[in-house]
Symmetry: C2
Amino acid sequence: MRMTEQRRAIRSAFKGAGRPLSPTEVLDLAGEEVPQLNLTTVYRNLKGMVEREELVQVPVPGQAVRYELAGLDHHHHFLCEGCDRVFDVPGCPGSIQRLTPVGFETTAHEVTLVGRCRVCA
Amino acid sequence: MRMTEQRRAIRSAFKGAGRPLSPTEVLDLAGEEVPQLNLTTVYRNLKGMVEREELVQVPVPGQAVRYELAGLDHHHHFLCEGCDRVFDVPGCPGSIQRLTPVGFETTAHEVTLVGRCRVCA
DNA sequence: TTAATTGCAAATGGTTTGCATTGTT
DNA sequence: AACAATGCAAACCATTTGCAATTAA
């Protein structure tokens, strides 16, 4: 794993954003530092960073997958219908597991709030 | 809005399944009744049924959208990692709105449990 | 009869892959 | 030099659309 300019730019896009990013958002943000950045390269780097556990995927209902830095505390997400950006939401409504139907086994849960962010509200 | 054989079959696929269905699942299920059923027709009918509010979309994180009969009580969903089927989960952990960050407005929420269904567990 | 519905093929949008080229070490 | 990373074009997959043929009312 070599350290290239584009990889550096992709990393710092996540550091700077502080919220989950879509591949296109990564291209736009990192592309300011490295204008020749290619979308294919973004996809390949995101994939590699997930395999190396630097990033995790953030599946968003009805939307393209986002990515965020790995190792954050358990939290959930907010999808803004105005700007399509995704934000982290600290905390978790406990008592989610107890919804599990009899005979089923729950290993994870996704909670996504949908609405308007501070800017769009 | 004319009543065709294929539309009838699509309707009854939902009645019979009792769980959210993907377009492909609809094709498979309704295709048993109407073998010449075409995937394009399924997509067009699903879209029409959503506009007419007979169905609602069920966005599943990281997966293709599912559809289910409209008008059900508020509930959530369970995604089985074994068979990729989606099931309804009655109930709702209250206290979800209180996760909303200051300045944000929450208008809806999605909760998806992920794990193994009764058959796959 | 005639307007809605269908089927097929082609277009689309997001993501992935093959392969030759470039860049780090 | 050796091999990982990149760029481009083509392949993919799910979904949508154009258009001519079919069918319910």
